[in-house]
Amino acid sequence: MENIIEIQNLNYEINNKKILDNICLKVKEGELVGLIGPNGAGKTTLLKCLNGIYKAEGTVKVNGLMINQMSNKSLAEKVALMHQNTQIGFPFPAREVVLMGRYPYLKRMQRESKEDYKIARKNMEYTDTEKLEDCAINEMSGGERQRVLFAKTLTQETDIILLDEPTASLDITYQEQIFKYSRELSEQGKTVLAAIHDLKIAAKYCTRLVLMNDGQIVADGSPEEVLTSLNLSQVYGVNALVYKNRITGLLDIYIHKVNEKNKSVRFHVIGGGGTAGSVLRQLYEQGYYISAGVFFQGDSDIASAEVFGIDYLMEKPFSSISDELFNDNLAYIKNSHTTILCNMPLGLQNIRNLEAAEQAEKLVIIEDDLPETRDFTGGKATGIYNRLKRKAVAVINSSRLHEVL
């Protein structure tokens, strides 16, 4: 595969302010590249430079040809750009708007041929807008208009398709739709470059992401390489945690603010079976020092602990807690100011977690369900649990956890 787009040392400024700062980027045929970055990073400007709307310093080559040496029409046969938020004030029927995509191919007095109509119709069917063909573009919803404009962009039949925030005004149904189309198009050999606001969608559909900030390219590579906690924290100025969502198997992003004051306060969380996840998150946001355990291998609580960088203890699955781990757990509990016991199922394997909790200095019990309903030890665990309850400083519903933190 060869580079269909080659950008070298591209600079663009407005009023002495650098909008694009020495951009170099090569895109191969058939790639679906997501341009991400905060507002004002230069994503839109870069797309417009590729399309010849802005004349920037530096070289932009499409198919090996310098775009500033191409005529407007021949560039429009190679590159199509779908703008963000195009407003059309006149009641053009959708069909006529889509047909305007044929402009580069038609001579001044030439009528649209049957073939032109066929291409327009095909793309309207593809974007599910054929029912709107007689509707006025200025009376449509934002989503309908965006799909009509997408059809128009496709009707230009270019090898390179640029999309500027294509889903900004779309319902979730069509948000995903446009990227599914884009993926199909890139599989057919078209090259798609899209400025994308939504990082999760970008990670899900793009084969490659380019992260921009202040007019520069900060990171470039696969979604996993680019969407790291470090990159996002630096570029967006927030604390971002990137992790693989265990339910969807997709990259997910968790953005939060950490309370810096509470660093010295220690918490220990006893949980399991996925009951500790939200507790760990809330403690993490408060900025406490946290430890957790004992969990069993394969528990989703372990994934949570890893995302938040929490020390945890782990036992092999389907076995009882060993003496060694029991003692480690005790050590964590004794070191902590407060221990939290989650609303976990109680079994013979994890009963020693309850025994360890008896040593806690300050115990908070989260109880959403009565212990009898989640006791699988034949009453033994409930006995210990009720003793713990008498000792605990608070027994609360999980929704009220923030009150004791």
């Binding site: 010849g52 407007n72 046969e77 195009t86 053009f92």
Partner: protein
């Protein structure tokens, strides 16, 4: 569904011929009615006879000269001016992406006025009758170009800026025109006043000859740019994305609009609102597509101005009200109606 579509196309196909028939009727009626009424059919026959189609027809004494030498050229001038103004208005509305754009509002009329005064002052009108349209065109083009440059910001022409700079430039040009008039001889002032009042009385075949070619030519050339106008309506950057060289095309269109408007102003004076309301009504009837809108506007403009001229002649016999007054009486309320409606719809027009 299919039937509905076919029916719609049929009305669209028949619309332009229907308008042409209507124009013919209005022109015959406009020629027939006046201080001396001539039956419509006779009027039609007189016109046909004098352009050499009908032979061996005789009419009451004096009717032939009234119809063919006085009224018919006047009606033709009205039709040509109406065509020029309405087509120019339609083109400007597309170029500026705004239904409020109009040659009169944008200083073209005042620019061509200054050009005309200069031609009169320099005594060139006596040398050749073509100097006045030439000067008027130059003045119109310079005026609209200056206004356009003043309001152009980052690839857009904001309408408010456009209108304000239009007013400022027009006022400035008006002041210069007045200075020149103050320094002119009486007969020159009279010549200018006769020209500038926006009337059609006393228009003869020579006026038809003067503007027929530039108006018809420039309007036909506008038709050639229909698709470009459609694409321009999507916006400057959208237009560039499909490969339209907007700078070049805008310049060409400005020249065409200037030629058409200046020619109209040369023979009819400054007639307001034709370029605004005719394209507007046509847009409601045939839609915004310039392939239909421009032909419809050009014919509609002719019908409108011929009809207004007829009203201006008969409404207060034996006096004649300037046709510009009639168009203003119809146009100004319509303009206000548009403003009010756009206010209601959340200000999409301005």
């Amino acid at each position: 569904m299919k039937n509905k579509k076919n029916k719609k196309n049929l009305t669209n196909v028949g619309f332009i011929p229907a308008m042409l028939v209507l124009l013919l009727i209005v022109m015959v009626v406009g020629t027939a009615i006046g201080a001396v009424n001539v039956p419509f059919f006779d009027t039609f026959k007189i016109i046909l006879k004098n352009i050499g189609i009908l032979k061996h027809a005789t009419f009451a004494e004096g009717q032939e000269p009234i119809i063919f030498l006085v009224r018919f050229p006047r009606v033709l001038v009205a039709a040509l001016a109406g065509t020029a103004l309405a087509s120019s208005g339609a083109v400007m509305q597309g170029m500026f992406r705004n239904p409020m754009a109009d040659p009169g509002l944008l200083g073209i009329s005042s620019g061509s006025g200054l050009g005309a005064v200069l031609a009169i002052k320099l005594g060139l009108t006596a040398a050749s009758m073509y100097f006045m349209p030439l000067f008027a065109f130059t003045g119109a083009f310079i005026a609209i170009f200056v206004i356009y440059l003043l309001s152009y910001q980052k690839g857009k022409v904001p309408v408010l800026t456009l209108m304000l700079s239009g007013i400022a430039v027009s006022t400035f040009i008006g002041a210069i025109t007045n200075i020149i008039l103050t320094l002119s001889y009486d007969y020159q002032v009279k010549e200018f006043l006769f020209w500038s009042t926006g009337g059609l009385d006393g228009r003869r075949w020579e006026h038809v000859q003067l503007v027929m070619v530039p108006i018809i030519l420039s309007v036909i050339l506008m038709f050639v740019f229909s698709r470009d106008l459609n694409v321009l309506m999507l916006g400057e950057e959208e237009a560039k994305s499909v490969g339209l060289s907007s700078g070049k095309i805008r310049t060409v269109l400005l020249v065409l609009v200037s030629i058409a408007t200046a020619s109209a102003v040369c023979v009819s004076g400054a007639i307001s609102f034709v370029g605004l309301i005719v394209p507007h009504i046509m847009r409601i009837l045939v839609g915004p597509n310039y392939k239909k809108l421009l032909p419809a506007s050009s014919i509609g403009g002719a019908i409108f101005l011929v009809a207004c001229d007829l009203v201006s002649r008969v409404v207060a016999i034996p006096y004649e009200i300037g046709v510009g007054i009639i168009t203003a009486l119809v146009g100004a309320p319509y303009f206000l109606y548009l403003l009010l409606r756009s206010k209601k719809e959340g200000g999409t027009v301005i």
